[in-house]
Chain length 334, copies 2
Amino acid sequence: MVTIIDVARAAGVSPSTVSYVLSGKRSISAETRRQVEQSIRRLGYHPNAGARALASSKTNVLALVIPLRTDLNVPVVMEFVAAVTTEARRHDHDVLLVTKDEGPGGLKRVAGSAIADALIVMDVESADPRVPMLLALDRPAVLIGVPGHATGLSCVDLDFAAAGAAAVRHLADQGHRSVGLVGPSPAVYERGTSFADRFRRGFTETADAHGVRHWARPCGHSYEAAQACLAELFEADPGLTGLVVQNEAVLGPVLSDLRHRGKRVPEDVSVVAICPDSMAENHALPLTTVSIPTDEIGALAVEMTIRQLAGETTPETRLLSPRLTPRASTAAAR
Amino acid sequence: MVTIIDVARAAGVSPSTVSYVLSGKRSISAETRRQVEQSIRRLGYHPNAGARALASSKTNVLALVIPLRTDLNVPVVMEFVAAVTTEARRHDHDVLLVTKDEGPGGLKRVAGSAIADALIVMDVESADPRVPMLLALDRPAVLIGVPGHATGLSCVDLDFAAAGAAAVRHLADQGHRSVGLVGPSPAVYERGTSFADRFRRGFTETADAHGVRHWARPCGHSYEAAQACLAELFEADPGLTGLVVQNEAVLGPVLSDLRHRGKRVPEDVSVVAICPDSMAENHALPLTTVSIPTDEIGALAVEMTIRQLAGETTPETRLLSPRLTPRASTAAAR
DNA sequence: ATGAAAGCGCTAACAC
DNA sequence: GTGTTAGCGCTTTCAT
């Protein structure tokens, strides 16, 4: 193994000089820098992460806590993971994966063993035991999603209330007078994952404000669940002409069940999907969406984490404004 | 921060004794162990990962290299990530994420900085520049998937040739005389990701062996691509009655396009899907599958890695036997 | 602008 | 069965 001492010897300088060339924390003569950099390259030197962490108390690693459940949209989770990892590298950090099923203990383990400098936590629930743990840990931390009530932790998320509102407004503007929401699975509501409630609130309030009749139903991830959900919605109002689907996993089933019912999209029913844009364009019919900007959210989470690591201390909650992209699945009500 | 010295003092023993209690590397009297364990708990001690890594040259971290591309099945990738992470924890290891786009340099960085003890690499291509790098690195490494030709690296994967064979055999046994393969996207074939070729070979050879006519086509991830793919297949043989879909992303589109063509499943066309079981059961029609056992593959990859870390040195390639589960999407040919 | 040296917290000989 | 101690490779004062 090549150490900093090998490099120092080869360059004819002291180890500390090599360290300073690497960190840029003090000025180095051009000639020395050249020598050192050349030796580093020639020897193929890489600073030892453990030694560095021990000496500096910084690992340059961010822990990312991901949900394992399948009642969430797996591809969406994967997009977050990719976005966070990519952005972390951009800031010279690595990402350590922690699974949600480790619970608060997992966070404690990571913080206690100083294996990561900060934590990014996904899929936070309303009374999530990890929130008090994060507070107690007193490490830089950012939540992707927001817990039920303010906690003093930094959060990033799509403004789901505004997203729900945008979806309904789009339909209302097109003359729809009765709309249905195909929501996330019941389990998501039950454990109080707030994005579901926030979205439904935006949906409901905006529909009320526009005098639009509205029904909201959770929906499991199977075809049968989607079928049952639509059955309920159309039973509640056979005249329903607008559908908002906040459950990307059943987009396919919803669209085919509509077909079975003899409802054409968008002639008979307009459909707005809430999902990443990448998932809206590969359907038989390109879907009007309120997009979930996973890249932006992931990148922002990392930026906020890095800023906390740099000393910024006041927690902030950033809710990104939704963007609705009209495509072929919505049209004016007849 | 609580250090091993604090624990030692509290327990009235030396630091090394605490270390040995933790590692179990020498015998400790019951009483001493009790004292130490109690102090550890009382003080909330966690060994510092950096210090440990520095002193022992072991990080207890596995690097997992994941593809970011979307021409692979994202949910499948996510399942691997989850399986690897879960199994790693079972062996007291953590997982560090590295993205494929870092290329060979990423592997070098991870190995060079000793930030992980071993590497697990997904989505290996036929002339993958990461293979020679892995060989040069001389660290424990396991590939999920197999490169074009033997490399001296350990590999785990589904036996895709056998999977292709099983799918065709199932159809042939039901009396189908002409079958089509909806394959992964062209890009997957182009970069020589071998699972696609191995599957197609199993498909082709088995069809030949059974005297079954066969056509294979790659298929992009959009609805249009699926439509075009089926158009080509049915143009090649309008009498086609068996379809093998090795592209989970277009399962929905394929099924709806079949409907548009007036082909009922399974009355007119039988469909076998290659995908994780979790993805086969949520369709309008439960699908006959050859399942991709992501959990097993991921867990096995970790086990093989851990075994290498324990000193096992001979590389091995493990191809898991496919399992076909008949469901409602296949039936006897009329 | 550079060097010397004291740790960072732990493991693993080496003692007894 | 337990204690002592020399590093592991780096960062960062403190000197000059």
